[in-house]
């Protein structure tokens, strides 16, 4: 039994908090300077000093190029932020680490936590999650556990409202923070919180409202007050004349936004902005008034979009509004009265504002941290096992809704003359001295609604304590725990599809599966890899819907096994056993056992941050538009009106994106390019699902045709095994033909094809035909002497009707063909595994 993590951090786009779970309660640490719970996620560099939080904010206006905020939205990208005063750049990970380090100063007890739970939006992909973990490690935490924010918020709620019976109820967590938006459908089953489904937008948050205010309210007002040419672009571009003004106005807009939550209007004093002059050098000093209704009208579209996401979740899970208990509001943006009102109106579900939207996630993180063990320090464990001969293993639930919880212990070693005793630390329970055996079971009584701490001791006959490596048993009664976190998207393995000279995806972990999890797959090597050659196979994992094409999904990592690493040739057809393991913090480790060579390769995937160059983005969007248009034309020609309509909508969306991308300057400082890239990927995925009907039809007719031909061949020349195999395919025909997944149908076609090839390979006519075909190519063969010998031999074998030997001759003749010719078939290998 080891120590619990206990510390939780909400690393937010605008604000961050740190909390600690202690004996059943959570403490939100306060900033020793100013005593606020929140630390603004802002980092500034001045002279030699690194300023974090309020202090950095102070300099934001005077020196905006050395003060960075909102970097959470750039997590997992290659983007770096230039720091003028340092003349260098910092990554979002480095900046986040500064915030985390500053949060450590909040801990007044002087503890130096080595492990921590850090929350992330449920819709963070693997790359973004890993970047967050990296930031934690950079800040000196040896063990970083990630927790999805909707779960954290629900934990905070469920543990606060202990008196409300939440059993078997479900609700929606509406988490509208500074930079990200998440909605999650959460349910309590048997005392455990589970996220059933979620949606989100990593690029939608309160800071977008700030940008809206600047672009749609302040900029037009400025244009009236002075003469500006291309003001918005000059503000947003890094080299723009007014770039500094952009940051300053964002701060002003944020202040106005907060004011508008309580007042019906807010004023922005332009006179407080240093050196504000228009293009002609005229100084601008005036007040801009923003009314609540003006503000509401510019955020309406974004709020409505969030309601759409909730409706999607309800539809997907066949739920009515009345099935949902309430919408739990968290995140700073839910302070805006209009957000609460509009959501209640649109969803017809009451909104619940009973928890503090600012610190709920951090509190939930601490509750979770209180149930997480610090991963064992290997050295310490080693020392422990050397110390005594007794090995102990304990199991029990850390959270319980019952009046008593079963505790089980297993022991290995010399148990002679040993006893054990369990006492509850509040002095109300003592198991008494009992004889130790290899397996013990105790019912531990729990105090209702409390954190129950027990001490377990092993004693020898002289009543001396024997070390079993930790002796604390901690069970929280009546509070809710987490059943598991969910994977936001499918994780798939990319394999070659020989038939289509393309790749297909094989599902490894499906969306919403509970992590941590593990799976095994066996793949086959598609081409022979010669030892020492440059050639190799790639085990590539992508994130995104499994029915899509790999190119529309995000690459997570590649485990490459090359010719230089293998101890002998890896023959085509060799099986490779793959094990994929996904940790709670979403680290994906892959190990590949190569049956042919007996070697094992393994790797923990470290997804590379995303780089989104503006120029490439524009090209990609244009090619997506072209693809959409050709798909639509095809749908029109085939009279598929439904698909055509869907594609039409997507074309409009992609054209909007073209406009948006066109206005980006190469050195755009905002996160617009990531938003656009995200939307582009979503459109590509929607296109794929809109056209899946077409591909299903193609696959179905290809199946019917192959089925007819192969059935005839099997009837005529097939053996028992082949007859059995084909009837098995026919038996499951109904299932895969009714599926909407073209890849599934295609894989059955491939199976039929392999049966056909097996039969043909025994067929004298086919083998003779193949032989004659190769003879025609004789002049192109690499070794003419050997080719002649083989051909003479082959002719003799045909005369002798020795078909098995002829098959071998054919194979050897094929190997004499020039590699370009052979590769015409093998060109289609992208990964080398099938």
């Amino acid at each position: 039994m080891s120590k619990m993590v206990n510390f939780g951090i909400d690393l937010g786009t605008t604000n961050s908090l740190i909390t600690k779970f202690e004996k059943g309660n959570v403490e939100v640490f306060k900033n020793p300077n100013g005593f606020k719970e929140t630390l603004p996620s802002i980092v500034g560099y001045r002279n030699d000093a690194i300023l974090v939080g309020e202090k950095a904010r102070t300099y934001a206006e005077r020196d905006p190029k050395s003060v960075i905020s909102r970097f959470k939205r750039k997590m997992g990208t290659t983007e770096t932020m230039k720091i003028a005063s340092l003349n260098t750049s910092k990554t979002p990970v480095e900046l986040s680490a500064e915030v985390l380090k500053e949060l450590k100063n909040f801990i007044h007890s002087g503890e130096k936590p080595e492990a921590v739970v850090i929350t992330i939006p449920a819709s963070f992909d693997t790359i973004q999650s890993n970047a967050t973990k990296e930031a934690g490690e950079l800040a000196g935490f040896k063990n970083v556990i990630l927790l999805q924010e909707p779960i954290a918020a629900s934990l905070a709620y469920a543990n606060k409202e202990k008196n409300i019976d939440l059993r078997n109820s479900q609700w929606i967590v509406y988490d509208f923070g500074g930079g990200t938006f998440d909605v999650a459908l959460v349910k309590i089953v048997e005392g455990e919180l589970t996220v059933i489904d979620h949606e989100g937008d990593n690029y939608l948050g309160g800071t977008d409202f700030d940008a809206n205010i600047v672009e749609q309210l302040i900029a037009p007002a400025l244009q009236k007050l002075g003469s500006f040419d291309d003001l918005i672009n000059q503000m947003k571009s890094e080299s723009g004349k007014y770039n500094r003004l952009w940051t300053t106005l964002l701060h002003k807009a944020e202040e106005a936004k907060i004011e508008l939550s309580n007042k019906s209007s807010a004023e922005i004093d332009l006179g407080l902005i240093r050196d504000l002059e228009d293009d002609t050098g005229k100084s601008i000093d005036s007040m801009i008034t923003i009314t609540r209704s003006e503000f509401e009208s510019i955020i309406k579209e974004q709020i409505d979009a969030t309601a759409e996401m909730m409706k999607k979740i309800l539809t997907r899970n066949s739920l009515q509004s009345s099935d949902v208990e309430f919408i739990l509001m968290v995140g700073g943006s839910t302070f805006i009265p209009y957000v609460r009102k509009r959501i209640e109106e649109l969803m017809n579900i009451s909104v619940n504002t009973s928890i503090d939207p600012t610190n709920a996630i951090a509190i939930g993180a601490a509750y979770f941290a209180g149930t997480k063990e610090i991963r064992g320090d290997k050295n310490q464990e080693q020392a422990r096992s050397n110390q005594g001969s007794l090995k102990a293993k304990f199991s029990y639930n850390r959270n319980s809704q019952e009046p008593a919880e079963v505790f089980q212990g297993r022991f290995e070693g010399d148990l002679k003359d040993l006893f054990y005793r369990i006492t509850r630390d509040d002095g109300a329970y003592d198991s008494g001295l009992k004889k130790l055996s290899s397996r013990i079971v105790e019912d531990l009584p729990l105090r209702e609604g409390e954190f129950n701490s027990f001490t377990f001791r092993v004693l020898d006959s002289k009543n001396n304590e024997v070390d079993v490596g930790g002796n604390s048993i901690q069970i929280t009664q009546g509070k809710y725990s987490v059943a598991g976190q969910l994977l936001p998207e499918d994780l798939c393995l990319v394999k070659d599809d020989i038939g289509k000279k393309d790749t297909i995806l094989e599902l490894l972990f499906s969306k919403n599966s509970v992590i941590p999890t593990k799976t095994k797959k066996t793949v086959t090597v598609g081409k022979t890899i010669v030892k020492g050659s440059e050639d190799g196979i790639s085990i590539m994992v992508v994130e995104g819907p499994s029915e899509n094409h790999s190119s529309t999904n995000k690459p997570i990592g590649i485990l490459a096994v090359g010719g230089k690493q293998i101890s002998k040739d890896l023959l085509k057809g060799t099986d490779i056993d793959l094990t994929f393991e996904l940790s709670e913090s979403r680290d994906l480790s892959v190990s590949a056992y190569v049956n042919g060579t007996g070697q094992e390769f393994s790797q923990v995937f470290e997804p590379k941050p995303r780089a989104v160059p503006v120029k490439m983005l524009a090209t990609e969007i244009l090619s997506l538009e072209a693809k959409l248009q050709s798909e639509q034309k095809e749908a029109d020609e085939n009279g598929n009106r439904d698909a055509s309509e869907k594609l039409d909508k997507l074309i409009t969306k992609v054209q909007d994106l073209i406009v948006a991308a066109g206005t980006l300057s190469d050195d755009d400082v905002t996160d617009d390019r990531f938003k656009i890239e995200d939307q582009k990927r979503k459109i590509a995925q929607e296109m794929y699902s809109a056209t899946s009907g077409k591909r299903v039809d193609v696959a179905k007719s290809s199946y019917q045709e192959t089925k007819r031909e192969v059935a005839e061949l099997v009837n005529k020349n097939g053996n028992d095994r082949e007859k059995h195999a084909i009837s098995a395919i026919f038996a499951r025909e109904q299932v895969f033909l009714n599926s909407t997944n073209p890849e599934k149908i295609q894989s059955e076609v491939d199976e039929l094809e392999s049966i056909r090839f097996e039969i043909l390979a025994r067929d004298p006519e086919f083998l003779t035909g193949m032989f004659m075909h190769l003879v025609e190519k004789r002049t192109a063969m690499n070794d003419q002497v050997q080719a002649k010998q083989l051909i003479d031999n082959g002719r003799r074998l045909i005369d002798q009707e020795s078909w098995d030997d002829l098959r071998i001759v054919n194979a050897r003749l094929w190997s004499l063909m020039p590699t370009t010719e052979q590769n015409s078939d093998e060109m289609r290998f992208f990964t080398g595994i099938i």
């Binding site: 004996k23 309660n25 006492t423 109300a428 329970y429 003592d430 009584p445 609604g449 701490s453």
Partner: protein, 121 residues
């Protein structure tokens, strides 16, 4: 100052006197009835103690076995199985914030074996 059983909680002795007497008053009222409408005053005093992390509990009717160390029990009768608390001389007093508390005074009780049929469990 009186210290609880081996734990690092120190509570002034008058607190025990207060709590024990409050409990006794409650017990008497349960028998004789609340003739003078004192329960509101008792509740106020209990709340005040709770604010300082002190609560007392009446374990009457609860099951008892040898693992319970929050009670000092005298067994009445001959049976030692299926024991229940039948009389409470002193209550259990606990100290600590809600969510995590510690026994600072064991309850002094009389327990008696009950036939399975009589059990109110």
């Amino acid at each position: 100052m009186k210290y609880s059983q081996g734990l690092q909680v120190s509570v002034p002795k008058y607190i025990f006197v207060f709590a024990n007497n409050l409990f006794e008053i409650e017990k008497k009222m349960a028998i004789n009835g609340d003739t003078g409408n004192f329960s509101r005053n008792i509740a106020k005093m209990k709340e005040s103690l709770e604010e300082h992390g002190i609560t007392y509990e009446n374990p009457e009717g609860e099951p008892f076995n040898e693992t319970r160390t929050d009670l000092d029990a005298s067994i009445s009768g001959t049976g030692t199985e299926n024991l229940y608390v039948v009389d409470v001389i002193k209550p259990i007093i606990r100290a600590g914030a809600s969510g995590m508390s510690t026994v600072i005074q064991k309850g002094i009780v009389v327990v008696e074996s009950r036939n399975k049929g009589e059990s109110n469990e």
